[in-house]
């Protein structure tokens, strides 16, 4: 039977072609052509993925590994190729990445229409898709690392897209450097893998693990902890989450694509992809679960008091990624990937809808100046409502199914699992609360734009306008997916992924699970109710509550002062060490001291220096030439005048 051709490299190469075309020639092309290039190549890429999905649906067997992949690095016995592998997991990821990716490209055409550097934006966006598809398709760790660092680069470029804003530059740099801390862990993890397995190929490591189950838990734990550090960087988990809120400096579609739907899920994808290793180390799994749960809760508390609409969503993303980590940590990889997928739908939608609001209000991001937008922006309102219901976990929206699957898996994971489940459930309450807070503040009530704009007359709501169709179309598609995305159900989804992620450890579900589901929905409803109490009518209740809880509120608004703590404990000491210890002590003694020493050694040099400073360049050159000539002559003379004697004298001298 003929091996079906899937043209996997094209999935990555199409967006790269788009990047090259727009990057090299975009500044000289008319906008229409830039947009066409920018849309066409992701669409082609999606088409290749869709064709592959169709063939899988038609019974093609996975995984498919491209044969004859070109070599990348080959030194000694170590060999790494540009090998792409398609299996169930990467297929799901690719559908999300290219599908949602294309929708966001489409939306961007409308959103970025009036921006300077339109071509640059799309070049970067296509570059991101290139690296993201490489990350997903990679058949070995090193190629995955290419995508891993590459998406970080694209993220850096896009966060800093508004090059006239210092805050944007700062945020981009912070994102890249913090991610590099994670990449350091990834690198060390890869070195450990090479040391223990002699290869970075996923498949070969998997075979070796299967063949030698005796690989010691300590080794596996060490490798996994290094990889986890990498994952916490990319997926914005404790302790490296700090870059993501700042990343909101980028254009809103970028936040939707990179900082919500795709790139930040790379950590989750990596853990699911290499779960064979994680399965060997209960310690590492526990770390993943605890980090995830702690991040989920922590970020949700901060999200409750944010006033910038995008920052609420940023903390919400961190929190939802925490859920996915929890899922991985309790071994429910398919549930984690399921949530990854539904989250991509509803979180991209939330960001795009928020972008539509910002667009409609000419750049306003502060929710305290919004309100009453329901009438002016009906499509945005209704699609956003679907997303809010989905993330809060109302039946039958997508988020309900996936979050439920994770919490159920946690509940069945022993005592620790029960504790994590409890925190997860409280987080669900907070999630519902802060999302409906956002919903009320933005769309309901009366416009508050005027209250804050004394002297400027009317507020935004008067001007607020619905976005053009090219922005609304992606909203509608994503809204449909946010509603229906979970209907496939965790059983069938897990069944599809089983060849990759292994048998999900689902104990007899039955009544327990039904009870858990009902409880989750009740908690979500409670969150809505509380938000309604506080923000539903006039906000007086909110003000009162805020006063009574002032210290906590300050703590949350300060985001627990984690940024400040990191600056004081890490950034400052490093700078201090570099500037004073190394710079003054080290360089001063080394450079000045040794130069001084040498001047002493060469007694002549003082004289020489004085002559040089006379400014006479010719004498200067002459001195150097003379010095060289003297040494050479010395050498030749030594050899010509009977070297044996000379050597004997050296011989004697050293003896």
């Amino acid at each position: 039977m003929n091996e079906p051709m899937l043209f996997l490299p094209l999935i990555a190469l199409f967006p790269f072609a788009g990047f090259l075309l727009n990057g090299l020639f975009g500044s000289r092309l008319p906008k229409a052509i830039v947009s066409t290039i920018a849309l066409l190549f992701p669409l082609l890429s999606f088409a290749v993925v869709a064709r592959a999905a169709w063939m899988v649906h038609g019974g093609m067997l996975l995984p498919v590994a491209e044969s004859g992949a070109p070599t990348w690095i080959a030194v000694g016995g170590f060999h790494v190729g540009f090998q792409f592998v398609l299996d169930q997991l990467s297929l799901v990821m690719l559908l999300v990445v290219t599908g949602v990716g294309f929708l966001i490209h489409l939306y961007s055409v409308g959103y970025m229409e009036h921006e300077q550097g339109y071509w640059r934006y799309f070049a970067y966006l296509n570059l991101f898709l290139f690296f993201m598809t490489v990350l997903v398709l990679a058949g070995n760790y090193l190629l995955m690392f290419v995508g891993w660092e590459g998406v970080g680069l694209a993220s850096y470029l896009l966060i800093g897209f508004y090059i006239d804003r210092k805050s944007a530059g700062d945020a981009g740099k912070k994102a890249f450097v913090v991610n590099r801390v994670g990449d350091f862990g990834f690198l060390i993890g890869m070195f450990l893998l090479i040391a223990n397995f002699g290869t970075l190929n996923f498949h070969r490591i998997g075979t070796q693990l299967a063949g030698h189950p005796a690989i010691s838990g300590a080794t596996a734990t060490l490798i996994c902890l290094c990889l986890i550090l990498g994952a916490t960087g990319k997926s914005a988990q404790i302790p490296l989450y700090i870059w993501l809120p700042d990343a909101m400096e980028g254009p809103t579609p970028v936040s939707a694509l990179i900082h919500a739907a795709t790139m930040v899920t790379a950590g989750v994808y990596m853990i699911a992809r290499t779960h064979a290793l994680f399965d060997l180390s209960p310690t590492a799994m526990m770390v993943v679960a605890v980090v995830g749960t702690a991040t989920a809760f922590f970020a949700a508390t901060v999200a409750m008091v944010q006033t910038d609409i995008k920052r609420v969503l940023a903390y919400s993303t961190i929190s939802q990624l925490g859920y996915m980590f929890l899922g991985c940590g309790v071994g429910a990889y398919s549930a984690a990937v399921f949530h990854l997928m539904t989250h991509a739908f509803f979180k991209a939608l939330l960001f795009l809808a928020a972008g539509s609001v910002i667009h409609g209000l000419s750049g306003e991001q502060d929710m305290r100046r919004m309100g009453g937008l329901r009438k002016a922006m009906p499509v945005t309102f209704w699609t956003m409502t679907a997303a809010v219901l989905a993330i809060s976990g109302f039946f039958p929206f997508a988020g309900f199914f996936s979050k439920d699957a994770i919490l159920a898996a946690a509940f069945q994971h022993g005592t620790l699992g029960k504790a994590l489940w409890t925190v997860g459930l409280i987080t669900a309450l907070l999630t519902s609360f802060y999302m409906f807070r956002l919903w009320y503040l933005t769309f309901l009530g009366e416009s508050r734009g005027a209250a804050h704009q004394d002297g400027h007359g009317d507020g935004h709501a008067a001007h607020a306008h619905e976005s053009p169709w090219i922005m609304l179309l992606p909203l509608v598609v994503l809204a449909l997916l946010s509603v229906t995305g979970g209907w496939i159900g965790i059983e069938r989804f897990a069944g599809f992924l089983e060849p990759v992620t292994g048998q999900a450890a689902m104990v007899d579900a039955g009544h327990t699970e039904l009870f858990l589901s009902v409880l989750a929905v009740l908690v979500a409803a409670l969150g809505w109710f509380l938000a309604h109490l506080f923000f539903g009518r006039d906000g007086e209740a909110a003000a009162q509550a805020a006063q009574s809880l002032a210290p906590i509120r300050r703590l949350l608004q300060g985001k627990y002062w984690i940024d400040e703590i990191y600056t004081a404990l890490i950034v400052r000491p490093v700078q201090w060490l570099a500037r004073f210890v190394l710079g003054w002590l080290g360089e001063w003694t080394l450079v000045r001291g040794s130069a001084w020493l040498m001047s002493g050694v060469v007694g002549l040099s003082g004289e020489l220096l004085r002559r040089w400073q006379s400014g006479n360049l010719r004498s200067y050159a002459a001195w150097l030439a003379a010095g060289a000539a003297a040494l050479l002559l010395f050498a030749l003379a030594g050899t010509l005048l009977g070297l044996n004697g000379f050597a004997d004298s050296i011989h004697w001298a050293v003896r």
Partner: protein, 518 residues
């Protein structure tokens, strides 16, 4: 043709030099001659990889003519996989240096370009010499134009800073190479030959007096380590980078010293080099952090580049002294990478300095709109320097670090790997300070207003280098394959003399070096 290509590569720059000296110093004439001549040199060097046999061990394109009979000095040159790409690199960077000097050097350009071409011959000579006296002659010759041109064409001639930098460079390198000469003569006295292969065999035979040989190897090591420079011996570098003309600064550090370390220290004295290795590894790993941390707090871009270079060269040293195949290939590749990336960065910083007359990064800001070509190409070169995958810096760093981690020491490799975090911080910091918005401070950005973008010729030059960064990053095997056979010979001969990969953990540097040879 193969029989005399190396002589040709050595003679073409000299011929250019003579032509420049004979013709009048009129307008851009010397610059044009230098450009055409260096392009011709480059084309000649391309003959080498085109006709190089990857599988063949030993030296190729060999020429061996007796020069003096007593002492027996031969004109013996040849190229193997180790030196192949370094010769091509010299050829490639020669026209780059001319382009970088195109606007900066206006007066006395005759002297400048004549000395510059002399420097090219000297560098090629260092890489191809197989007779140690010949090598020493070229080595000394390569030091002189750097010192003289820095003193004559330096940036701050007025306050004497350029002169001081030149003097410091001269003292460091010259003082360090005087013992090298003594050591060479000692070897000759005991073997009656300057021939590389003969000396190598003599050292390997173990017939030379042991502890004196130890001092000889130390003399070799120090001469090269100063030129690299290895941490602690880098005192000449920051000032030279600040003061020297860019075409000179871009060739002053790195490849000559690193090549010599491999060829004339590790390959010539494997057992003795093995004993020095723990110290070198420690110095290199610390040097990576040291350079990166100091780069982080520099205010002037020349100094930033200087410390970044120290960090990046330390990667090469780390790879060389691990005695692992991966580390060694990584080190040679990284030497080439450093040359390519450094040249691009030097050229671009040179453009900024020449148009704005300042190297304080705070004086710039927001240049991205005004100088888009410069900003784009600078970002690419910067990312290559900090090891972004698919660009060349990554492959070298990865090979060195993985080789060190697996074969030598996990803790030292981990310490060195911390450099990836710091390097990102300093490079992105520099990009932000120069090219991105700086917060609207009115004091800042004045220099930015007069900064110009790259000219057509400069753009083409840097673009070629950028394409090369991508090419090496994506297909490093093209380069490493040629090295493979040479490095296999190296590692075989090393292992035969008991110099297996250096096994160490960070606490045991001193212990293992005291413990004698294992």
């Amino acid at each position: 043709m193969d029989g005399m290509i190396l002589s040709l590569i050595l003679v073409v720059p000299l011929a250019g030099m003579v032509a420049i000296l004979l013709l009048p110093d009129r307008g851009k004439l010397p610059a044009w001659i230098a450009l055409l001549d260096s392009l011709l040199t480059f084309v000649c060097t391309l003959h080498l990889p085109a006709h190089f046999h990857n599988q063949q061990a030993g030296f190729q394109f060999e020429e061996n003519l007796p020069w003096l009979s007593r002492p027996a000095i031969h004109f013996h040159v040849g190229v193997d996989g180790l030196s192949l790409w370094l010769v091509v690199l010299v050829g490639l960077l020669a026209p780059v240096g001319v382009v970088a000097s195109w606007r900066a050097v206006q007066k006395n350009s005759k002297v400048f370009y004549a000395m510059y071409l002399l420097q090219q011959t000297a560098m090629v000579g260092v890489f191809v010499s197989l007779d140690l006296m010949l090598y020493y002659g070229f080595w000394e010759l390569s030091l002189i134009p750097i010192a003289v041109l820095t003193a004559m064409f330096g940036r701050n001639l007025g306050d004497g800073a350029a002169g001081k930098a030149a003097l410091r460079f001269f003292l460091y390198t010259f003082l360090a190479s005087a013992p090298l000469l003594v050591a060479l003569l000692w070897l000759y006295a005991h073997t009656g030959s300057f021939d590389y292969a003969t000396l190598q065999a003599a050292v390997a035979s173990g017939t030379l007096p042991g502890w004196q040989l130890g001092w000889v190897s130390v003399a070799f090591l120090i001469a090269f380590a100063v030129k690299v420079p290895v941490l602690g011996l880098h005192g000449w570098l920051p000032d030279l980078f600040s003061e020297a003309p860019v075409a000179i600064a871009m060739i002053a550090a790195g490849k000559l010293g690193l090549y010599s370390l491999i060829r004339f220290h590790v390959e010539l004295f494997p057992a003795l080099a093995h004993r020095a290795a723990p110290w070198m590894i420690a110095l290199a790993a610390i040097g990576i952090l040291y350079g990166a941390m100091l780069a982080l707090v520099q205010k002037e871009f020349w100094k930033l580049l200087a410390y970044a270079t120290i960090g990046s060269l330390s990667f090469c040293t780390l790879g060389i002294y691990g005695f692992t195949a991966a580390g060694m290939s990584g080190a040679v590749l990284q030497t080439v990478n450093e040359g390519v990336i450094g040249a691009a960065l030097f050229l671009m910083f040179g453009v900024l300095y020449e148009s704005a007359r300042t190297s304080r990064m705070a004086d710039f800001g927001g240049l991205a709109r005004q100088t888009p070509r410069l900003a784009t190409l600078f970002t690419i070169a910067g990312l290559a320097l900090i090891g972004l995958p698919l660009l060349n810096g990554f492959v070298g760093e990865f090979l060195v670090l993985s080789g060190t981690f697996v074969g030598v020491s996990r803790s030292w490799a981990a310490i060195a790997a911390l450099g990836v975090i710091l390097s990102a911080a300093y490079m992105l910091g520099a990009i932000q300070k120069i090219f991105l918005a700086d917060g609207g401070d009115q004091q800042n950005g004045q220099a930015g207003r007069v900064a110009r973008d790259l000219t057509g010729m400069e753009t083409v030059t840097v673009a070629v280098l950028a394409v090369l960064m991508l090419a090496i990053g994506v297909q490093p095997t093209v380069w490493t394959e040629a090295m493979e056979s040479a490095l296999q010979t190296v590692t075989h001969s090393m292992h035969a003399q008991g110099a297996t990969p250096v096994r160490m953990e960070s606490g045991t540097v001193i212990a293992s070096s005291m413990g004698g040879r294992q």
